[in-house]
């Protein structure tokens, strides 16, 4: 239904001569063929019926092609009728002068019928066009409500308007400096750029400033090639919608103007809606970042101050009262300094990791990693504070390889294993199990402890930034570690979740795809002799 509009437009305006010739040829051929046919079926003497049959091509022409071809058909019919049927035959001479009168009546009937039927046709056409317009406006509005980002929306508008009006369309919006620019444009194929010329932008700017329609078919700046309507909602002009105006007929121009104004209204409200949504999103983000900033401040100030206090206290103590300390005291104090600094280092690492994840600066450097290698690095890192815990690692006999970012995956394991250590009592066992899910090419890592466990209600929330379970407030932490883990696991296309350990405590379960979409493990046999 949509496509009828441009086709018809092309027929009416685009190439009139090309399209009109066949109509007249058809009329001529039809009437020329009708004449011998009437002779063959032997109606040549029944003049009344012959004249009625000659009305047939006239009506057909009127209904299908309009007034011009109808009058042409009438004239040709009269000539044929006169020449071949009215005595004397094969001559334009009319023996009985009454026939002249019937010719006139005949012509009059033909013209009248043609006018009536062509008007009917026009009305039908208009109804069709309205339907098409309504359809395309409906399509426009439906498309616009579905789109949430401004660029896509503008592109849709340009495409749809160009489609609806069968001409090139352009949308002008002010840029960040308030300068009006072509932000989207389209022709019927959805390509091309119109409206970028200086004169066109100048008109668009005038329309934007004055909030009035301008261009060909409107009341101002009629000599320009395009038609420009402001995109206006109640209190604001968002931009300008323009089409290249090809219609020369006043009536057609008026229709196009109406259509364009309708499109403009729709587009304006859609743009306003998107802008509002954007503002709302920004506001929400501001609120969220406000909340996070407060949490960050609370957490960081506490987490930074505690180790700083021990560092400064121990260091000043050593400097100022060096003599009073025994060697053991001194060792204790310097140990304090080291532990405090280590703790701050962990915090800074986590904060930086979070910033990297959040800012999208995190780039995966996927490589094939030996899982055994990774866990050995992890254990080396956590060894210094895993005293009095036994850590058991269950690895399959076959070496396990996973395509991922080695450093990041190690960070995940370090965080999860450190948590298991932190929240479990001395002399308890932590079990790290790696299993391969061959069928789905997944690696399952379970880190199980027998510690305090996580309340059901917090199982999801512990992965949120800065969230700390009420039940473990007494244990220091920033609430960043698991959020980072989740982020890293998710960029690898995996999942991480907390479960309760059947024997008490927590089971952190990480599931990672072992192969990257484009990388299958290319291991070939050694083929070497020992």
């Amino acid at each position: 239904m949509k496509s009828t509009v441009p086709e018809r437009n092309a027929e009416e305006k685009g190439a009139p001569r090309l399209y009109r010739v066949p109509k007249y040829v058809w009329v001529t051929i039809g009437i020329t063929l009708l004449t011998p046919l009437l002779h063959v079926i032997g109606m040549s003497n029944d003049l009344v019926n012959v004249s009625l049959i000659y009305l047939f091509p006239i009506l057909v022409s009127a209904v299908y092609w309009g007034l011009g071809p109808a009058i042409y058909a009438a004239s040709l019919s009269v000539i044929m009728f006169d020449f071949f049927f009215v005595p004397p035959n094969l001559s334009f001479t009319v023996a009985d002068l009454r026939y002249i009168f019937s010719f006139v009546v005949y012509l009059a009937v033909a013209v009248l019928t043609a006018t009536l039927s062509s008007r009917l046709r026009q009305q039908l056409e208009m109804v069709r066009q309205r339907e098409a317009t309504t359809n395309s406006l409906y399509a426009l509005s439906r498309q616009m409500t579905a789109v949430a980002d401004l660029d896509t929306l503008l592109h849709h508008i340009a495409k749809q308007v160009s489609h609806t009006l069968g001409t090139q369309a352009a949308v002008y919006l002010p840029d960040t400096h308030g300068e009006l620019k072509v932000t989207a444009s389209a022709d019927e194929q959805g390509t091309a750029v119109w409206g970028g010329e200086e004169s066109e932008i100048a008109i668009a700017k005038w329309v934007y400033r004055n909030g009035e329609t301008a261009g060909k078919g409107s009341s101002s700046l009629r000599e320009s090639s395009g038609l420009y309507v402001p995109l206006r909602t109640e209190d604001q002009i968002h931009g300008v919608l323009a089409v290249r105006m090809e219609a020369s007929d006043i009536q057609e121009q008026r229709e196009q103007l109406q259509l364009l104004e309708a499109c403009g209204g729709l587009s304006a409200s859609a743009i306003a809606r998107v802008k509002l949504a954007e503002e709302a999103r920004v506001a929400q983000m501001t609120a969220e970042s406000e909340r996070i900033r407060t949490a960050l401040l609370d957490s960081v100030s506490h987490e930074l101050r505690t180790p700083l206090t021990t560092i400064i206290g121990s260091a000043t103590g050593l400097i100022e009262n060096d003599a009073i300390f025994t060697p053991e005291d001194r060792k204790e104090l310097t140990g304090n300094i080291r532990d405090g600094a280590m703790r701050m280092n962990r915090l800074v690492t986590n904060l930086l990791g979070m910033v990297k994840l959040e800012s999208g600066m995190l780039q995966l450097r996927r490589k094939w990693c030996d899982v055994g290698d990774m866990i050995s690095v992890v254990l080396t890192q956590v060894r210094e504070f895993s005293k009095h815990r036994s850590i058991r690692v269950d690895l399959p006999d076959q070496p396990l390889f996973i395509c991922g970012d080695e450093v990041l995956l190690e960070q995940v394991l370090i965080n999860v294993v450190s948590n298991a250590i932190k929240y479990s009592p001395d002399y308890s066992e932590i079990v790290i199990t790696f299993t391969r899910d061959e069928r789905n090419a997944k690696l399952n890592i379970v880190v199980a402890d027998t510690g305090v466990g996580i309340p059901d209600a917090d199982r999801e929330r512990i992965f949120e930034k800065f969230y700390r379970s009420e039940s473990s407030r007494h244990i220091t932490g920033t609430g960043l570690g698991l959020a980072i883990c989740k982020g890293i696991v998710e960029v690898h296309g995996g999942t991480i979740r907390a479960e309760s350990n059947p024997g008490g405590g927590t089971r952190m379960s990480i599931c990672l795809p072992m192969e990257a979409p484009e990388a299958l493990f290319p291991y070939r046999g050694q083929g070497e002799v020992e």
Binding site: W368, G372, S376, P399, E406, V407, Q526
Partner: protein
């Protein structure tokens, strides 16, 4: 350890506090310390004081640490240990492949730094190639191409042996994946072949009876390469 006694070390770092820290602690370890705060001066100093080792911060203002590294490497093979505050693995790899001998990530423990310095100095001091390398229970006889673990010979494929040879003769020093590929496979390797490396290291570890979670000999430096551990 005698090789490192009195060695002259040039410390290049733009942070006075870190220079001071290094100076005090390294002097306490009997090293002779020269220091400078920027890249241009570092290049000049390196040619004047003829240090036995350079500790170079990669994040210098002005002429970067990488530039200093390249400039010094044009005429000197002096061991260089880079300090990097960045957690970007590719910087470390670039420095190591660009001629640095080892790296230490800030913040670092002094024990770690001193150990790295000693290893680097020792590799320079070693004039005659020992035909037999011993690491606790492991013996690598380079002349006979024989490897023994706990007194029992172990069978290695030629590739595994070559890898062990490269790692063991650089004991204590970091070997990047690329260096290892180059020295074992020669020019016939591709950057993306590093997973073969992992597979071979896996096999080698198995034959050395390593506990994959706590290796005694071959330690993985995540994202960078391997380090053959010195046995205490």
């Amino acid at each position: 350890m005698t090789a490192s006694q009195g060695a002259r070390i040039l410390v290049v770092d733009d942070e006075p506090q870190i220079r001071k820290l290094l100076k005090v602690t390294l002097q306490a370890h009997q090293f002779e310390i020269h220091e400078c705060g920027d890249g241009d001066e570092a290049v000049t100093q390196a040619s004047i004081v003829h240090p036995d080792l350079i500790i170079l911060d990669l994040g210098l203002p002005g002429m970067s640490g990488m530039d200093v590294l390249h400039r010094v490497r044009e005429w000197s093979q002096v061991p260089i240990i880079v300090l990097t505050a960045k957690e970007r693995e590719e910087d470390k790899i670039a420095a190591l492949d660009g001629g640095a001998d080892d790296y230490v990530t800030k913040p670092f423990g002094m024990g770690e730094l001193v150990a790295r310095i000693r290893v680097a100095l020792r590799h320079v001091a070693r004039t005659t190639d020992e035909p037999v390398l011993r690491f606790g229970s492991l013996t690598v006889d380079l002349a006979q191409r024989q490897v023994e673990l706990d007194g029992l010979p172990i069978k290695l494929t030629p590739t595994e042996y070559d890898m062990l040879k490269v790692l063991a003769s650089n004991a204590g020093k970091i070997i990047t994946q690329r260096q290892l590929l180059q020295q074992v496979w020669g020019g016939h390797h591709h950057e993306s072949d590093s997973h073969y490396l992992r597979v071979y290291v896996g096999h080698l570890r198995k034959k050395l009876k390593e506990d994959p979670t706590q290796p005694r000999f071959i330690q993985t430096e995540p994202g960078i390469g391997y380090r053959f551990l010195l046995q205490d």
